[in-house]
Symmetry: none
Subunit: 200 residues, 4 copies
DNA sequence: GCTTAATCGAGACGGTACGTCCGGTCTTACC
DNA sequence: GGTAAGACCGGACGTACCGTCTCGATTAAGC
């Protein structure tokens, strides 16, 4: 038997109700602190356990890998938004674009997200967990707003919603992960404008 | 003293003219083979050296890290294009989009590129090298074609060229690296169409 | 408060009358089976508990250590003798020598005794328990017979009884534990003969 | 291919000539110090490596187990004798008996030997190594002296030499390892006297 | 019969040692 | 001086047990 953890399928580790809340808290705190301070690479299972004052086995009992712990710690600490979810579609789009931008550029943990995405390239479970737990929840309201705008006739109805969403989310992450070119407010605005133009 | 290697700054390791061509060849072949067969994570410096029949020190003498060797091996083996560089801008854009798509989806080494990009998230030297040696050379001709199209009046002149390029390159990499949604020809076409619409 | 267990002094664990007879039986059976099958080293408290279908705490409640459980299981299962306790002293000596020999060479649990003696070298409690519960009960009748033989004038009276006993018991255990030389019936006979010669 | 180490058969670890003399010295010193200070049980491979300022892998490269390291360290540090090897057989016997006695009772490392013998009960390689490298070299001169005494007619010629030797060596080790009764000079003398009586 | 307390199976917990793997440096002998 | 070979120190890995602890469920006495 097995259970799902953030999309991970791991051997059933008995009853989650029996796990120690103190240890769980201490582990997430320690993992996040080490992640933010020194970066993903230098986080180690042993280091997290030591900082949390916890046995190493306790980590392995509840998480299958370093990526899983760090990502759960990330989810536990980092939030984005909330943003206006109704009203002008253009404003919604702009709010989200600037929200991501701020997170990636300013935020302590946010600016480390790219390292997590990097780790996910060789860890399919982490990749799935991140897609489901982090990205999709942030795309969903925008997708909803887009559909409403399409029904209202403010946006072309012949475009697949996810493809349209990618038009604005993708460039931000492309600069974050790939191109190395500047990622700033002016760029976010330009992308949003082009996107709106494409969708009109 | 130091020299530049693919953007890496490494301590000057004596006279490059004296390096063994056989070893160099064997190392790149071994590194690429291991990379394609088992993935980036499981490539090790020792493994490359053993497979190449080479001393471990020889790797460290000429490359600063695993990422550097593997990326040079990748550059050595994987190519994309050439694509038509003049004529209809839309056709050029489409050719490039499909070129990347094919590489990432079909190609042996190409489908491993995402792992290299992943590694680059915690290795700034590798990130710079990849941006300069891999991505920029593939963007340059498209940027040139875009500018000519702008001068010809076929494309809006009030858009920054790199931002415009991102509109088509970014979504492909976003789906590759982040979203987990399908990356196929229909998507590439849709993205190109939207992009052209935005730029008209 | 504390109680004595086979020479161990352990914290008093409440009322022994309340202990579960089923668990006690199952534990001794499991411990002995694991000991005989895989040897002392590979016996673990957790392994015993699992095989006995018993909680780990139940072991720790009634026994202070692995050595204590295994030795009690050993005592519970392994016996030697009885041997003729009166009559010719030489015959008694020979009977005991061959009894030990058979146990060590043939017996399932007996041939594992050397491992228990080994463990006792770093566990004073186990050493004491073994001396009192295993070795002394087997020496006592021989000592008694020796003293009677001394009084009857069949054996020199100027020799300390324990020293004399050692002359025959020691070589058997020396070959078992130390020298690695063959331990067989011919050797046992030779030792007994020499011993009798020394004591005449 | 493999090589012999103190009777151990281990996978061939390349050229012993290349091993670091400094590390080798530091390891034996550290192992012996920890052994004498805290006892065999509490010696760990990691502890030896740390105290020696050596990588853990270096231990595993050259020794197959804790027992092997500690025993080599023991051999390196602990000596016994030399004793007079010719002249009166009784005197030789007495010298050896007192030599062992002194080692086991007084000596720092010597009094730990029983723990090594204990470990050997579950480690056949260690048992063999100890028999060949420690015990046999100490028995050999006495065996030689015994044979000369037999030829000179001072000792019965109808007794197997090793059996006769056991008569005096065994009781000392029996009290050390098994019986828990006092091991002192008076006992050693009594044993030697009885032994000489048996052999006359 | 009811309550109360100790024992039971189960298993999570903080630790410690294991033996392996790899990173990056160094040494040696050959070319 | 570059090279193949490989020993070296360091340190992270994931596993196995240790001995303690907490949890309900069960059981057995004493009221």
């Amino acid at each position: 038997m097995s259970r799902l953890f953030l999309g991970y399928s791991v051997p059933m580790p008995a009853d989650p109700a029996r796990r120690s809340q103190e240890s769980w808290r201490a582990i997430l705190d320690a993992a996040y602190a080490l992640f933010v301070e020194n970066g993903y690479q230098s986080v180690t299972m042993g280091g997290i356990a030591a900082r949390a004052g916890v046995g190493r086995q306790t980590l392995y009992r509840w998480w299958p890998s370093k990526g899983a712990v760090v990502f759960e710690a990330f989810l536990d600490k980092v939030s984005i938004g909330p943003f206006p979810a109704d009203g002008d579609f253009a404003a919604i789009l702009r709010a989200y674009a600037h929200g991501f931008l701020t997170l990636y550029v300013d935020g302590a943990g946010g600016s480390r997200l790219r390292e997590l995405i990097g780790a996910a390239q060789t860890d399919p479970d982490l990749a799935r967990a991140m897609a489901e737990q982090w990205f999709e929840p942030r795309r969903a309201p925008v997708r909803q707003a887009l559909r409403e705008a399409q029904q209202a006739g403010a946006v072309r109805a012949d475009v697949d919603a996810d493809t349209a969403l990618d038009l604005v989310f993708a460039p931000l992450h492309y600069r974050l992960l790939v191109s190395g070119q500047p990622l700033d407010a002016a760029y976010a605005d330009a992308v949003v404008d082009l996107c709106l133009h494409a969708l009109r």
